[in-house]
Symmetry: C2
Subunit: 301 residues, 2 copies
Protein backbone atom coordinates (compact mmCIF):
# COMPACT_ATOMS: atom_id res chain seq x y z
CA UNK A 1 0.00 0.00 0.00
CA UNK A 2 3.00 2.32 -0.13
CA UNK A 3 2.06 3.65 -3.57
CA UNK A 4 -1.34 5.04 -2.67
CA UNK A 5 -1.75 8.51 -4.07
CA UNK A 6 -4.56 10.92 -4.87
CA UNK A 7 -4.44 13.03 -8.03
CA UNK A 8 -6.74 15.98 -8.29
CA UNK A 9 -7.72 18.43 -11.02
CA UNK A 10 -9.44 21.31 -9.25
CA UNK A 11 -10.74 23.93 -11.60
CA UNK A 12 -13.12 26.84 -11.28
CA UNK A 13 -16.19 24.71 -11.89
CA UNK A 14 -15.27 21.19 -10.74
CA UNK A 15 -13.05 19.12 -8.47
CA UNK A 16 -12.16 15.69 -9.79
CA UNK A 17 -10.16 13.37 -7.52
CA UNK A 18 -8.73 9.96 -8.43
CA UNK A 19 -7.32 7.43 -5.98
CA UNK A 20 -4.50 5.30 -7.37
CA UNK A 21 -2.52 2.36 -6.06
CA UNK A 22 0.49 2.53 -8.35
CA UNK A 23 -0.93 2.43 -11.86
CA UNK A 24 -4.29 1.00 -10.78
CA UNK A 25 -7.17 3.42 -10.31
CA UNK A 26 -9.13 2.39 -7.22
CA UNK A 27 -11.79 5.08 -7.19
CA UNK A 28 -12.73 8.56 -8.31
CA UNK A 29 -14.99 11.26 -6.98
CA UNK A 30 -16.20 14.74 -7.95
CA UNK A 31 -16.70 17.85 -5.88
CA UNK A 32 -17.40 21.57 -6.25
CA UNK A 33 -15.09 23.87 -8.19
CA UNK A 34 -13.00 26.59 -6.57
CA UNK A 35 -15.53 29.08 -7.89
CA UNK A 36 -18.46 27.34 -6.15
CA UNK A 37 -17.24 26.50 -2.66
CA UNK A 38 -19.48 26.63 0.42
CA UNK A 39 -16.65 25.78 2.83
CA UNK A 40 -12.92 26.59 2.78
CA UNK A 41 -10.87 24.80 0.11
CA UNK A 42 -9.04 22.79 2.80
CA UNK A 43 -12.28 21.68 4.46
CA UNK A 44 -13.82 20.82 1.12
CA UNK A 45 -10.82 18.74 0.17
CA UNK A 46 -10.76 16.87 3.50
CA UNK A 47 -14.49 16.18 3.22
CA UNK A 48 -14.07 14.77 -0.28
CA UNK A 49 -11.18 12.56 0.86
CA UNK A 50 -12.83 11.35 4.10
CA UNK A 51 -14.46 8.18 2.67
CA UNK A 52 -11.16 7.05 1.17
CA UNK A 53 -9.21 7.89 4.35
CA UNK A 54 -11.66 5.78 6.35
CA UNK A 55 -10.48 2.76 4.37
CA UNK A 56 -6.90 3.60 3.42
CA UNK A 57 -3.86 5.16 5.02
CA UNK A 58 -3.57 8.05 2.59
CA UNK A 59 -0.52 10.33 2.71
CA UNK A 60 -0.02 11.94 -0.67
CA UNK A 61 -2.25 14.29 -2.64
CA UNK A 62 -1.17 16.08 -5.82
CA UNK A 63 -3.39 18.82 -7.23
CA UNK A 64 -3.35 21.17 -10.18
CA UNK A 65 -5.55 24.00 -11.46
CA UNK A 66 -7.27 26.70 -9.45
CA UNK A 67 -6.29 24.74 -6.32
CA UNK A 68 -3.09 26.81 -6.61
CA UNK A 69 -4.79 30.17 -7.10
CA UNK A 70 -5.17 32.85 -4.45
CA UNK A 71 -8.56 31.38 -3.56
CA UNK A 72 -7.29 27.79 -3.58
CA UNK A 73 -5.71 25.45 -1.03
CA UNK A 74 -2.34 27.19 -1.13
CA UNK A 75 -1.14 29.78 -3.61
CA UNK A 76 1.33 28.23 -6.03
CA UNK A 77 3.52 30.48 -8.18
CA UNK A 78 3.42 30.79 -11.94
CA UNK A 79 6.38 29.26 -13.77
CA UNK A 80 7.52 31.77 -16.39
CA UNK A 81 7.60 30.81 -20.06
CA UNK A 82 9.54 29.56 -21.84
CA UNK A 83 9.21 26.59 -19.47
CA UNK A 84 9.76 22.88 -19.83
CA UNK A 85 8.44 20.20 -17.46
CA UNK A 86 11.52 20.36 -15.21
CA UNK A 87 11.18 24.13 -14.69
CA UNK A 88 7.49 23.65 -13.92
CA UNK A 89 7.96 20.74 -11.49
CA UNK A 90 10.37 22.54 -9.17
CA UNK A 91 7.87 25.31 -8.42
CA UNK A 92 5.19 23.22 -6.73
CA UNK A 93 3.71 24.60 -3.50
CA UNK A 94 3.55 22.23 -0.53
CA UNK A 95 1.20 22.07 2.40
CA UNK A 96 0.84 19.71 5.38
CA UNK A 97 -2.85 19.30 6.14
CA UNK A 98 -4.30 16.94 8.72
CA UNK A 99 -1.55 14.40 8.19
CA UNK A 100 -1.60 14.72 4.39
CA UNK A 101 1.31 15.84 2.24
CA UNK A 102 -0.36 18.05 -0.36
CA UNK A 103 1.49 19.33 -3.39
CA UNK A 104 -0.05 21.87 -5.73
CA UNK A 105 1.27 22.35 -9.24
CA UNK A 106 2.28 25.85 -10.32
CA UNK A 107 0.54 27.60 -13.19
CA UNK A 108 2.28 29.08 -16.21
CA UNK A 109 2.70 32.75 -17.04
CA UNK A 110 3.63 33.70 -20.54
CA UNK A 111 3.04 36.04 -23.41
CA UNK A 112 0.46 35.69 -26.14
CA UNK A 113 1.21 36.07 -29.84
CA UNK A 114 0.07 39.70 -29.67
CA UNK A 115 2.41 40.47 -26.79
CA UNK A 116 -0.26 40.50 -24.06
CA UNK A 117 0.51 38.80 -20.75
CA UNK A 118 -1.36 35.56 -20.19
CA UNK A 119 -1.79 32.88 -17.51
CA UNK A 120 -3.00 29.32 -17.13
CA UNK A 121 -3.65 27.02 -14.18
CA UNK A 122 -4.26 23.34 -14.86
CA UNK A 123 -3.85 23.18 -18.62
CA UNK A 124 -0.05 23.04 -18.23
CA UNK A 125 -0.45 19.69 -16.42
CA UNK A 126 -2.25 18.37 -19.49
CA UNK A 127 0.38 19.73 -21.86
CA UNK A 128 3.35 18.29 -19.96
CA UNK A 129 1.36 15.11 -19.37
CA UNK A 130 0.68 14.76 -23.09
CA UNK A 131 4.40 14.94 -23.82
CA UNK A 132 5.11 12.41 -21.05
CA UNK A 133 2.61 10.02 -22.62
CA UNK A 134 3.79 10.74 -26.15
CA UNK A 135 7.47 11.76 -26.25
CA UNK A 136 7.22 12.37 -30.01
CA UNK A 137 5.09 15.44 -29.21
CA UNK A 138 8.11 16.95 -27.44
CA UNK A 139 10.04 16.99 -30.72
CA UNK A 140 9.90 20.02 -33.00
CA UNK A 141 7.30 22.76 -32.90
CA UNK A 142 3.54 22.45 -32.45
CA UNK A 143 0.42 23.93 -30.96
CA UNK A 144 -1.40 22.33 -28.07
CA UNK A 145 -5.02 23.42 -28.07
CA UNK A 146 -7.11 22.95 -24.92
CA UNK A 147 -10.72 23.87 -25.69
CA UNK A 148 -13.02 24.94 -22.88
CA UNK A 149 -14.48 27.85 -20.96
CA UNK A 150 -11.14 29.57 -21.50
CA UNK A 151 -9.48 27.84 -24.45
CA UNK A 152 -5.70 27.81 -24.44
CA UNK A 153 -3.38 27.76 -27.44
CA UNK A 154 0.14 26.91 -26.33
CA UNK A 155 3.11 27.07 -28.67
CA UNK A 156 5.62 24.37 -27.77
CA UNK A 157 9.09 23.79 -29.20
CA UNK A 158 11.12 20.72 -28.22
CA UNK A 159 9.12 20.20 -25.04
CA UNK A 160 9.26 23.82 -23.92
CA UNK A 161 6.15 26.01 -23.74
CA UNK A 162 7.19 29.24 -25.51
CA UNK A 163 4.01 31.20 -24.90
CA UNK A 164 0.26 30.85 -25.07
CA UNK A 165 -2.98 32.68 -25.64
CA UNK A 166 -6.32 32.37 -23.91
CA UNK A 167 -9.59 32.62 -25.83
CA UNK A 168 -12.82 33.34 -23.99
CA UNK A 169 -14.68 31.02 -26.38
CA UNK A 170 -16.61 28.78 -23.97
CA UNK A 171 -17.55 31.58 -21.61
CA UNK A 172 -18.57 33.84 -24.48
CA UNK A 173 -20.71 31.07 -25.98
CA UNK A 174 -22.47 30.61 -22.64
CA UNK A 175 -23.06 34.38 -22.24
CA UNK A 176 -24.41 34.71 -25.78
CA UNK A 177 -26.69 31.68 -25.65
CA UNK A 178 -27.95 32.08 -22.07
CA UNK A 179 -27.89 35.82 -21.38
CA UNK A 180 -28.07 37.74 -24.64
CA UNK A 181 -30.90 38.77 -26.94
CA UNK A 182 -29.55 36.54 -29.73
CA UNK A 183 -31.47 33.39 -28.82
CA UNK A 184 -35.13 34.20 -28.97
CA UNK A 185 -36.38 31.75 -26.43
CA UNK A 186 -39.28 30.11 -28.19
CA UNK A 187 -37.36 27.49 -30.07
CA UNK A 188 -34.24 26.29 -28.34
CA UNK A 189 -35.09 22.60 -28.43
CA UNK A 190 -32.25 20.31 -29.43
CA UNK A 191 -32.29 19.57 -33.13
CA UNK A 192 -29.10 17.97 -34.38
CA UNK A 193 -29.69 18.76 -38.07
CA UNK A 194 -30.52 22.42 -37.46
CA UNK A 195 -27.64 22.78 -35.07
CA UNK A 196 -25.19 21.23 -37.55
CA UNK A 197 -26.42 23.49 -40.36
CA UNK A 198 -25.98 26.52 -38.09
CA UNK A 199 -22.51 25.38 -37.08
CA UNK A 200 -21.45 25.14 -40.74
CA UNK A 201 -22.77 28.61 -41.46
CA UNK A 202 -20.99 30.03 -38.40
CA UNK A 203 -17.77 28.35 -39.46
CA UNK A 204 -18.08 29.84 -42.94
CA UNK A 205 -18.67 33.30 -41.46
CA UNK A 206 -15.58 32.87 -39.28
CA UNK A 207 -13.45 32.42 -42.40
CA UNK A 208 -14.54 35.89 -43.56
CA UNK A 209 -12.72 37.37 -40.56
CA UNK A 210 -15.42 39.74 -39.27
CA UNK A 211 -16.57 37.95 -36.13
CA UNK A 212 -18.02 40.96 -34.31
CA UNK A 213 -20.08 41.88 -37.36
CA UNK A 214 -21.29 38.30 -37.75
CA UNK A 215 -22.72 37.82 -34.24
CA UNK A 216 -26.08 39.44 -34.89
CA UNK A 217 -26.92 37.03 -37.71
CA UNK A 218 -27.81 34.53 -34.96
CA UNK A 219 -30.83 36.71 -34.22
CA UNK A 220 -31.65 38.16 -37.62
CA UNK A 221 -31.66 34.69 -39.21
CA UNK A 222 -34.39 33.70 -36.75
CA UNK A 223 -36.36 36.88 -37.48
CA UNK A 224 -35.96 36.90 -41.24
CA UNK A 225 -34.74 33.54 -42.55
CA UNK A 226 -36.91 31.12 -40.60
CA UNK A 227 -34.00 29.71 -38.59
CA UNK A 228 -34.61 28.04 -35.24
CA UNK A 229 -32.99 28.59 -31.87
CA UNK A 230 -31.10 25.32 -32.37
CA UNK A 231 -29.70 26.72 -35.61
CA UNK A 232 -28.66 29.91 -33.86
CA UNK A 233 -26.89 28.02 -31.08
CA UNK A 234 -25.01 25.97 -33.67
CA UNK A 235 -24.22 29.16 -35.59
CA UNK A 236 -22.69 30.83 -32.53
CA UNK A 237 -20.65 27.72 -31.75
CA UNK A 238 -19.29 27.58 -35.30
CA UNK A 239 -18.62 31.31 -35.43
CA UNK A 240 -16.77 31.42 -32.10
CA UNK A 241 -14.75 28.22 -32.52
CA UNK A 242 -14.01 29.06 -36.14
CA UNK A 243 -12.88 32.57 -35.21
CA UNK A 244 -10.71 31.24 -32.39
CA UNK A 245 -8.96 28.83 -34.74
CA UNK A 246 -8.62 31.36 -37.56
CA UNK A 247 -7.21 34.07 -35.28
CA UNK A 248 -4.85 31.67 -33.52
CA UNK A 249 -3.44 30.32 -36.77
CA UNK A 250 -3.19 33.62 -38.62
CA UNK A 251 0.47 34.32 -39.15
CA UNK A 252 1.51 31.11 -37.35
CA UNK A 253 4.48 29.31 -38.88
CA UNK A 254 3.52 25.83 -37.73
CA UNK A 255 0.32 23.98 -38.52
CA UNK A 256 0.99 20.94 -36.34
CA UNK A 257 -1.85 20.90 -33.81
CA UNK A 258 -2.64 18.54 -30.95
CA UNK A 259 -6.03 19.01 -29.29
CA UNK A 260 -6.35 17.93 -25.66
CA UNK A 261 -9.85 17.59 -24.36
CA UNK A 262 -13.17 15.81 -24.26
CA UNK A 263 -14.07 14.05 -27.49
CA UNK A 264 -17.36 15.90 -28.08
CA UNK A 265 -15.78 19.34 -27.83
CA UNK A 266 -12.67 18.32 -29.76
CA UNK A 267 -14.95 17.11 -32.57
CA UNK A 268 -16.20 20.70 -32.95
CA UNK A 269 -12.63 21.88 -33.44
CA UNK A 270 -11.76 19.37 -36.17
CA UNK A 271 -13.72 21.02 -38.99
CA UNK A 272 -12.51 24.46 -37.90
CA UNK A 273 -8.92 23.24 -37.95
CA UNK A 274 -9.46 21.52 -41.29
CA UNK A 275 -10.73 24.86 -42.66
CA UNK A 276 -7.31 26.24 -41.69
CA UNK A 277 -5.53 23.42 -43.56
CA UNK A 278 -4.52 21.79 -40.31
CA UNK A 279 -4.49 18.07 -39.68
CA UNK A 280 -4.97 17.59 -35.95
CA UNK A 281 -5.09 14.74 -33.51
CA UNK A 282 -6.92 14.61 -30.19
CA UNK A 283 -5.77 13.31 -26.82
CA UNK A 284 -7.95 12.63 -23.80
CA UNK A 285 -7.83 15.49 -21.31
CA UNK A 286 -8.26 13.15 -18.38
CA UNK A 287 -5.39 10.87 -19.42
CA UNK A 288 -3.13 13.89 -20.01
CA UNK A 289 -3.82 15.55 -16.67
CA UNK A 290 -3.14 12.32 -14.78
CA UNK A 291 0.12 11.88 -16.68
CA UNK A 292 1.05 15.45 -15.79
CA UNK A 293 0.27 15.02 -12.10
CA UNK A 294 2.20 11.75 -12.12
CA UNK A 295 5.33 13.71 -13.00
CA UNK A 296 5.21 15.19 -9.49
CA UNK A 297 4.89 11.75 -7.93
CA UNK A 298 7.94 10.57 -9.81
CA UNK A 299 9.78 13.81 -9.10
CA UNK A 300 9.68 13.34 -5.33
CA UNK A 301 11.19 9.90 -5.23
CA UNK B 1 -54.73 73.59 -30.56
CA UNK B 2 -55.20 71.69 -33.83
CA UNK B 3 -51.50 70.93 -34.12
CA UNK B 4 -51.12 69.03 -30.85
CA UNK B 5 -49.21 65.82 -31.46
CA UNK B 6 -47.28 63.27 -29.43
CA UNK B 7 -44.08 61.76 -30.81
CA UNK B 8 -42.72 58.63 -29.19
CA UNK B 9 -39.54 56.61 -29.50
CA UNK B 10 -40.33 53.29 -27.83
CA UNK B 11 -37.36 50.97 -27.73
CA UNK B 12 -36.56 47.78 -25.87
CA UNK B 13 -35.29 49.59 -22.82
CA UNK B 14 -37.09 52.95 -22.77
CA UNK B 15 -40.19 54.85 -23.83
CA UNK B 16 -39.68 58.54 -24.52
CA UNK B 17 -42.71 60.66 -25.34
CA UNK B 18 -42.73 64.31 -26.40
CA UNK B 19 -45.80 66.54 -26.59
CA UNK B 20 -45.65 69.18 -29.31
CA UNK B 21 -47.87 72.05 -30.31
CA UNK B 22 -46.65 72.63 -33.84
CA UNK B 23 -42.91 73.18 -33.49
CA UNK B 24 -43.05 73.96 -29.79
CA UNK B 25 -42.28 71.20 -27.34
CA UNK B 26 -44.71 71.46 -24.43
CA UNK B 27 -43.53 68.52 -22.35
CA UNK B 28 -41.75 65.20 -22.37
CA UNK B 29 -41.95 62.06 -20.30
CA UNK B 30 -40.22 58.68 -20.01
CA UNK B 31 -41.62 55.21 -19.45
CA UNK B 32 -40.59 51.57 -19.50
CA UNK B 33 -39.19 49.92 -22.61
CA UNK B 34 -41.04 47.23 -24.56
CA UNK B 35 -38.70 44.70 -22.98
CA UNK B 36 -39.61 45.77 -19.43
CA UNK B 37 -43.39 46.15 -19.42
CA UNK B 38 -45.54 45.23 -16.43
CA UNK B 39 -48.82 46.00 -18.24
CA UNK B 40 -49.84 45.65 -21.89
CA UNK B 41 -48.21 48.10 -24.31
CA UNK B 42 -51.57 49.82 -24.91
CA UNK B 43 -52.28 50.23 -21.19
CA UNK B 44 -48.73 51.45 -20.58
CA UNK B 45 -49.04 54.03 -23.34
CA UNK B 46 -52.43 55.30 -22.12
CA UNK B 47 -51.07 55.58 -18.59
CA UNK B 48 -48.08 57.60 -19.77
CA UNK B 49 -50.36 59.91 -21.79
CA UNK B 50 -53.02 60.33 -19.09
CA UNK B 51 -51.57 63.49 -17.46
CA UNK B 52 -51.37 65.23 -20.83
CA UNK B 53 -54.84 64.09 -21.86
CA UNK B 54 -56.23 65.53 -18.63
CA UNK B 55 -55.12 68.96 -19.82
CA UNK B 56 -55.26 68.73 -23.61
CA UNK B 57 -57.51 67.30 -26.25
CA UNK B 58 -54.97 64.91 -27.73
CA UNK B 59 -55.75 63.02 -30.92
CA UNK B 60 -52.53 62.08 -32.66
CA UNK B 61 -49.67 59.87 -31.52
CA UNK B 62 -46.80 58.80 -33.76
CA UNK B 63 -44.44 56.09 -32.53
CA UNK B 64 -41.37 54.30 -33.80
CA UNK B 65 -39.13 51.49 -32.59
CA UNK B 66 -40.15 48.31 -30.83
CA UNK B 67 -43.63 49.82 -30.51
CA UNK B 68 -44.08 48.22 -33.95
CA UNK B 69 -42.70 44.80 -33.04
CA UNK B 70 -44.73 41.69 -32.36
CA UNK B 71 -44.70 42.57 -28.67
CA UNK B 72 -45.51 46.25 -29.26
CA UNK B 73 -48.70 48.27 -29.62
CA UNK B 74 -49.44 47.01 -33.11
CA UNK B 75 -47.16 45.04 -35.40
CA UNK B 76 -45.86 47.26 -38.17
CA UNK B 77 -44.27 45.69 -41.25
CA UNK B 78 -40.65 46.01 -42.30
CA UNK B 79 -40.04 48.16 -45.37
CA UNK B 80 -37.61 46.29 -47.61
CA UNK B 81 -34.30 47.85 -48.59
CA UNK B 82 -33.39 49.60 -50.75
CA UNK B 83 -35.88 52.05 -49.25
CA UNK B 84 -36.18 55.82 -49.26
CA UNK B 85 -38.32 57.88 -46.90
CA UNK B 86 -41.37 57.71 -49.17
CA UNK B 87 -41.30 53.89 -49.30
CA UNK B 88 -40.93 53.81 -45.53
CA UNK B 89 -43.73 56.29 -44.80
CA UNK B 90 -46.44 54.43 -46.68
CA UNK B 91 -46.04 51.30 -44.56
CA UNK B 92 -47.06 52.73 -41.20
CA UNK B 93 -49.45 50.66 -39.09
CA UNK B 94 -52.50 52.44 -37.67
CA UNK B 95 -54.53 51.82 -34.58
CA UNK B 96 -57.50 53.57 -32.98
CA UNK B 97 -57.11 53.39 -29.20
CA UNK B 98 -59.39 55.08 -26.67
CA UNK B 99 -60.06 57.98 -29.02
CA UNK B 100 -56.46 58.33 -30.13
CA UNK B 101 -55.19 57.94 -33.68
CA UNK B 102 -51.94 56.03 -33.26
CA UNK B 103 -49.52 55.51 -36.10
CA UNK B 104 -46.51 53.27 -35.74
CA UNK B 105 -43.55 53.55 -38.07
CA UNK B 106 -42.43 50.43 -39.94
CA UNK B 107 -38.97 48.99 -39.42
CA UNK B 108 -36.49 48.27 -42.17
CA UNK B 109 -35.39 44.86 -43.42
CA UNK B 110 -32.24 44.62 -45.46
CA UNK B 111 -29.08 42.74 -46.12
CA UNK B 112 -25.74 43.25 -44.41
CA UNK B 113 -22.44 43.57 -46.24
CA UNK B 114 -21.82 39.84 -45.71
CA UNK B 115 -25.18 38.88 -47.22
CA UNK B 116 -26.90 38.10 -43.92
CA UNK B 117 -30.48 39.30 -43.41
CA UNK B 118 -30.82 42.16 -40.96
CA UNK B 119 -33.52 44.28 -39.34
CA UNK B 120 -33.95 47.57 -37.51
CA UNK B 121 -36.81 49.23 -35.65
CA UNK B 122 -36.41 52.86 -34.68
CA UNK B 123 -33.02 53.71 -36.14
CA UNK B 124 -34.60 54.23 -39.57
CA UNK B 125 -36.59 57.15 -38.12
CA UNK B 126 -33.29 58.74 -37.10
CA UNK B 127 -31.72 58.13 -40.51
CA UNK B 128 -34.61 59.56 -42.51
CA UNK B 129 -34.93 62.33 -39.94
CA UNK B 130 -31.26 63.22 -40.33
CA UNK B 131 -31.72 63.61 -44.06
CA UNK B 132 -34.87 65.71 -43.53
CA UNK B 133 -32.89 68.02 -41.23
CA UNK B 134 -29.85 68.04 -43.49
CA UNK B 135 -30.76 67.49 -47.14
CA UNK B 136 -27.08 67.50 -48.09
CA UNK B 137 -26.78 64.11 -46.37
CA UNK B 138 -29.21 62.69 -48.93
CA UNK B 139 -26.70 63.44 -51.71
CA UNK B 140 -24.15 60.82 -52.73
CA UNK B 141 -23.09 57.81 -50.71
CA UNK B 142 -22.37 57.61 -46.98
CA UNK B 143 -22.63 55.54 -43.83
CA UNK B 144 -24.98 56.41 -41.04
CA UNK B 145 -23.71 54.92 -37.80
CA UNK B 146 -26.09 54.61 -34.84
CA UNK B 147 -24.12 53.40 -31.80
CA UNK B 148 -25.96 51.63 -29.02
CA UNK B 149 -26.96 48.29 -27.54
CA UNK B 150 -27.30 47.10 -31.12
CA UNK B 151 -25.23 49.46 -33.26
CA UNK B 152 -26.41 49.93 -36.82
CA UNK B 153 -24.30 50.75 -39.87
CA UNK B 154 -26.55 51.81 -42.74
CA UNK B 155 -25.24 52.41 -46.23
CA UNK B 156 -27.20 55.20 -47.91
CA UNK B 157 -27.01 56.41 -51.48
CA UNK B 158 -28.94 59.48 -52.62
CA UNK B 159 -31.38 59.24 -49.74
CA UNK B 160 -32.03 55.54 -50.15
CA UNK B 161 -30.97 52.98 -47.52
CA UNK B 162 -29.24 50.25 -49.53
CA UNK B 163 -28.58 47.84 -46.66
CA UNK B 164 -27.28 47.78 -43.12
CA UNK B 165 -25.52 45.69 -40.54
CA UNK B 166 -26.14 45.32 -36.83
CA UNK B 167 -23.31 45.01 -34.33
CA UNK B 168 -23.96 43.62 -30.87
CA UNK B 169 -21.41 46.06 -29.44
CA UNK B 170 -23.34 47.62 -26.56
CA UNK B 171 -24.96 44.39 -25.44
CA UNK B 172 -21.66 42.52 -25.67
CA UNK B 173 -19.92 45.23 -23.63
CA UNK B 174 -22.58 44.91 -20.92
CA UNK B 175 -22.33 41.10 -20.87
CA UNK B 176 -18.53 41.19 -20.67
CA UNK B 177 -18.30 43.86 -17.99
CA UNK B 178 -21.25 42.74 -15.84
CA UNK B 179 -21.48 38.98 -16.29
CA UNK B 180 -18.12 37.60 -17.38
CA UNK B 181 -14.94 36.63 -15.54
CA UNK B 182 -12.99 39.41 -17.25
CA UNK B 183 -13.65 42.13 -14.67
CA UNK B 184 -12.29 40.93 -11.38
CA UNK B 185 -14.60 42.76 -9.06
CA UNK B 186 -12.22 44.29 -6.58
CA UNK B 187 -11.35 47.40 -8.49
CA UNK B 188 -14.10 48.66 -10.74
CA UNK B 189 -14.19 52.17 -9.37
CA UNK B 190 -14.37 54.93 -11.95
CA UNK B 191 -10.97 56.24 -12.88
CA UNK B 192 -10.96 58.40 -15.97
CA UNK B 193 -7.20 58.17 -16.61
CA UNK B 194 -7.09 54.39 -16.26
CA UNK B 195 -10.20 53.99 -18.34
CA UNK B 196 -8.80 56.20 -21.11
CA UNK B 197 -5.50 54.29 -21.15
CA UNK B 198 -7.41 51.01 -21.40
CA UNK B 199 -9.58 52.39 -24.19
CA UNK B 200 -6.49 53.35 -26.20
CA UNK B 201 -4.97 49.90 -25.74
CA UNK B 202 -8.23 48.21 -26.76
CA UNK B 203 -8.44 50.44 -29.84
CA UNK B 204 -4.88 49.50 -30.79
CA UNK B 205 -5.69 45.79 -30.38
CA UNK B 206 -8.75 46.23 -32.59
CA UNK B 207 -6.51 47.44 -35.43
CA UNK B 208 -4.68 44.09 -35.31
CA UNK B 209 -7.90 42.38 -36.40
CA UNK B 210 -8.00 39.53 -33.86
CA UNK B 211 -10.82 40.64 -31.57
CA UNK B 212 -11.72 37.22 -30.16
CA UNK B 213 -8.09 36.56 -29.25
CA UNK B 214 -7.79 39.99 -27.64
CA UNK B 215 -10.72 39.72 -25.21
CA UNK B 216 -8.87 37.83 -22.48
CA UNK B 217 -6.24 40.55 -22.11
CA UNK B 218 -8.84 42.44 -20.07
CA UNK B 219 -8.36 39.81 -17.37
CA UNK B 220 -4.73 38.86 -17.81
CA UNK B 221 -3.63 42.51 -17.70
CA UNK B 222 -5.22 42.74 -14.25
CA UNK B 223 -3.56 39.51 -13.11
CA UNK B 224 -0.14 40.15 -14.58
CA UNK B 225 0.33 43.78 -15.55
CA UNK B 226 -1.12 45.59 -12.56
CA UNK B 227 -4.08 47.00 -14.49
CA UNK B 228 -7.25 48.02 -12.68
CA UNK B 229 -10.86 47.14 -13.32
CA UNK B 230 -11.36 50.64 -14.71
CA UNK B 231 -8.58 49.98 -17.20
CA UNK B 232 -10.17 46.67 -18.20
CA UNK B 233 -13.56 48.31 -18.76
CA UNK B 234 -11.93 50.94 -20.95
CA UNK B 235 -10.01 48.24 -22.77
CA UNK B 236 -13.16 46.30 -23.61
CA UNK B 237 -14.89 49.46 -24.79
CA UNK B 238 -11.98 50.32 -27.08
CA UNK B 239 -11.62 46.77 -28.36
CA UNK B 240 -15.33 46.35 -29.18
CA UNK B 241 -15.93 49.78 -30.67
CA UNK B 242 -12.64 49.65 -32.55
CA UNK B 243 -13.46 46.19 -33.93
CA UNK B 244 -16.95 47.29 -34.93
CA UNK B 245 -15.55 50.24 -36.88
CA UNK B 246 -12.69 48.26 -38.43
CA UNK B 247 -14.96 45.41 -39.55
CA UNK B 248 -17.64 47.75 -40.86
CA UNK B 249 -15.17 49.78 -42.92
CA UNK B 250 -13.10 46.86 -44.23
CA UNK B 251 -13.67 46.72 -47.96
CA UNK B 252 -16.05 49.67 -47.89
CA UNK B 253 -15.78 52.04 -50.83
CA UNK B 254 -17.00 55.16 -49.05
CA UNK B 255 -15.48 56.71 -45.95
CA UNK B 256 -18.10 59.41 -45.45
CA UNK B 257 -19.60 58.71 -42.04
CA UNK B 258 -22.35 60.44 -40.08
CA UNK B 259 -22.79 59.32 -36.49
CA UNK B 260 -26.25 59.74 -34.95
CA UNK B 261 -26.44 59.43 -31.21
CA UNK B 262 -25.71 60.77 -27.77
CA UNK B 263 -22.59 62.93 -27.56
CA UNK B 264 -20.79 60.82 -24.93
CA UNK B 265 -21.11 57.60 -26.91
CA UNK B 266 -20.38 59.28 -30.23
CA UNK B 267 -17.17 60.65 -28.70
CA UNK B 268 -15.99 57.06 -28.21
CA UNK B 269 -16.50 56.40 -31.91
CA UNK B 270 -14.50 59.42 -33.12
CA UNK B 271 -11.01 58.03 -32.34
CA UNK B 272 -12.00 54.61 -33.73
CA UNK B 273 -13.23 56.26 -36.93
CA UNK B 274 -10.12 58.42 -37.10
CA UNK B 275 -8.02 55.22 -36.85
CA UNK B 276 -9.84 54.12 -40.02
CA UNK B 277 -8.96 57.40 -41.76
CA UNK B 278 -12.54 58.57 -41.53
CA UNK B 279 -13.61 62.12 -40.79
CA UNK B 280 -17.01 61.91 -39.18
CA UNK B 281 -19.65 64.29 -37.90
CA UNK B 282 -22.21 63.65 -35.18
CA UNK B 283 -25.90 64.51 -35.08
CA UNK B 284 -28.17 64.40 -32.04
CA UNK B 285 -30.19 61.20 -31.89
CA UNK B 286 -33.12 62.94 -30.26
CA UNK B 287 -33.31 65.69 -32.89
CA UNK B 288 -33.09 63.12 -35.69
CA UNK B 289 -35.81 60.84 -34.34
CA UNK B 290 -38.19 63.75 -33.91
CA UNK B 291 -37.49 64.89 -37.46
CA UNK B 292 -38.17 61.35 -38.67
CA UNK B 293 -41.47 61.08 -36.80
CA UNK B 294 -42.47 64.50 -38.06
CA UNK B 295 -42.37 63.11 -41.61
CA UNK B 296 -45.46 61.05 -40.71
CA UNK B 297 -47.25 64.09 -39.38
CA UNK B 298 -46.57 65.93 -42.62
CA UNK B 299 -47.42 62.86 -44.67
CA UNK B 300 -50.98 62.63 -43.36
CA UNK B 301 -52.01 66.12 -44.19
Amino acid sequence: MGDLIVFGDWGTSRLRLSLFDGDAKLAETDGPGIGALTASPAETLLQALAPWRAEHDLKRVILCGMAGSRSGVIEAPYAECPADAAAWLVQAAELALDGLDIRVAPGLAGTAANGAPDVMRGEEAQIFGAMALRPDLAQGERWFVLPGTHSKWARVRDGRVLGFQTFLTGELFALLTERSSLLMGADRAENADESAAGFDQGLARAQEGHPIAALFEARSAQLRAGRSGAWAQGYLSGLLIGSEVAEALRGADTRAVTVIGAAALAARYSPALAAGSVVSETLSGEACVLAGLRLFAANRS
